[in-house]
């Protein structure tokens, strides 16, 4: 792979990770309306993590001279979100999707300056995903292969 190809592969992976971070933030804002108590607190904290990740990816893309993809005005949810259970289910899906994007970025870039933060995002995201898997009663709580299509 040439230098230009490697750079483009990293940019593509970062844009895909950014797109799932946009989607995750949208999911958290939708879910917030249905969550109360500890689940609402958890969602608040997780949404802040995603804000931080989104900013980090945007900064990296800007450093690489690429224009960051924008968020969609809305996203299709796999199931209708009507109560606390379906809201938690949506967050489990959002976290699972984000893990897949971070893992894909690891595979697309060989640059340690991209890989290290992507690996951190995968590790930290696995804990967030595990918490929503517990809330939704999805065993095993901790995915065996986080980021894989079938994480269990």
């Amino acid at each position: 792979m040439s230098g230009a190809e490697a750079r483009q592969a990293a940019i593509d992976g970062l844009q895909a990770a950014l797109a799932t971070e946009h989607a995750a933030l949208w999911c958290y804002s939708l879910a917030a309306a249905f969550l109360t108590g500890p689940a609402a607190d958890q969602a608040d904290q997780d949404a802040r993590d995603h804000l931080r990740l989104r900013s980090a990816v945007e900064r990296t893309l800007s450093r690489l001279g690429a224009r960051a993809v924008s968020a969609q005005p809305a996203y299709a949810t796999p199931e209708p979100v009507v109560d606390a259970d379906s809201a938690a289910g949506l967050l489990r899906v959002a976290e699972t999707d984000a893990l897949a994007a971070w893992r894909s970025l690891l595979e697309r870039s060989a640059d340690p300056a991209v890989r290290r933060p992507a690996l951190n995002a995968l590790v930290e995201g696995t804990l967030r995903c595990a918490r929503w898997r517990v809330v939704t009663g999805t065993p095993p709580a901790i995915p065996v292969f986080p980021g894989r299509d079938d994480p269990t």
Binding site: L106, P112, R115, L119, V123, V144, P146
Partner: protein, 156 residues
């Protein structure tokens, strides 16, 4: 009784060594073991087997730990199998020599703390190895790192 060994033995040993050397030399031409450094996934697969054995022993010592640790046993066994498959893909000769079983686990006074420490160390080792791996291997090793590190947090 004689202090000198029979003269025939050394020669036979040389012949046996020469016969054994032929397939090994043929294997080298394939290029998979041109690099002298051992596959970094071998240590990770050993750690996965050791962690699974440790968690199994902790459950055997205290059945109440099964709920928390059985998923870890299953996860680390799945990691060991996936890592072993990837090691064997690049070194088909390895399939003929199954890995040695892990050493008997030492649980100490606080088995749960011991398991948690093992997960933390395994997560750190996988993360350290992951960053330098080629694209087709990093996903697996990064997943192992993320899974182990999360167990270390949750079991804490």
């Amino acid at each position: 009784m004689s202090a000198t060994p029979p003269v025939g033995v050394p020669r036979r040993r040389v012949l046996v060594a020469a016969l054994l050397a032929v397939p090994a030399a043929g294997g080298c031409s394939f290029g998979s073991d041109a690099d002298d450094a051992p596959d970094p996934l071998i240590a990770l697969a050993d750690a996965a087997r050791a962690d699974a054995g440790l968690a199994r022993a902790a459950i055997a010592a205290d059945g109440a730990l099964a709920e928390a640790l059985q998923p870890l046993v299953d996860a680390r066994a799945a990691h060991a199998a996936a890592l072993e498959a990837e090691i064997t893909r690049l070194d088909p000769d390895r399939a003929a020599t199954p890995p040695a079983p892990p050493p008997a686990p030492a649980l100490g006074r606080d088995p749960m703390a011991r398991v948690r420490e093992a997960c933390e160390a395994s997560g750190a080792a996988a993360a350290a190895a992951a960053v330098a791996l080629p694209a087709e291997r990093i996903g697996l090793v990064a997943a192992v790192a993320a899974c182990c590190s999360t167990y270390a947090v949750v079991l804490g």
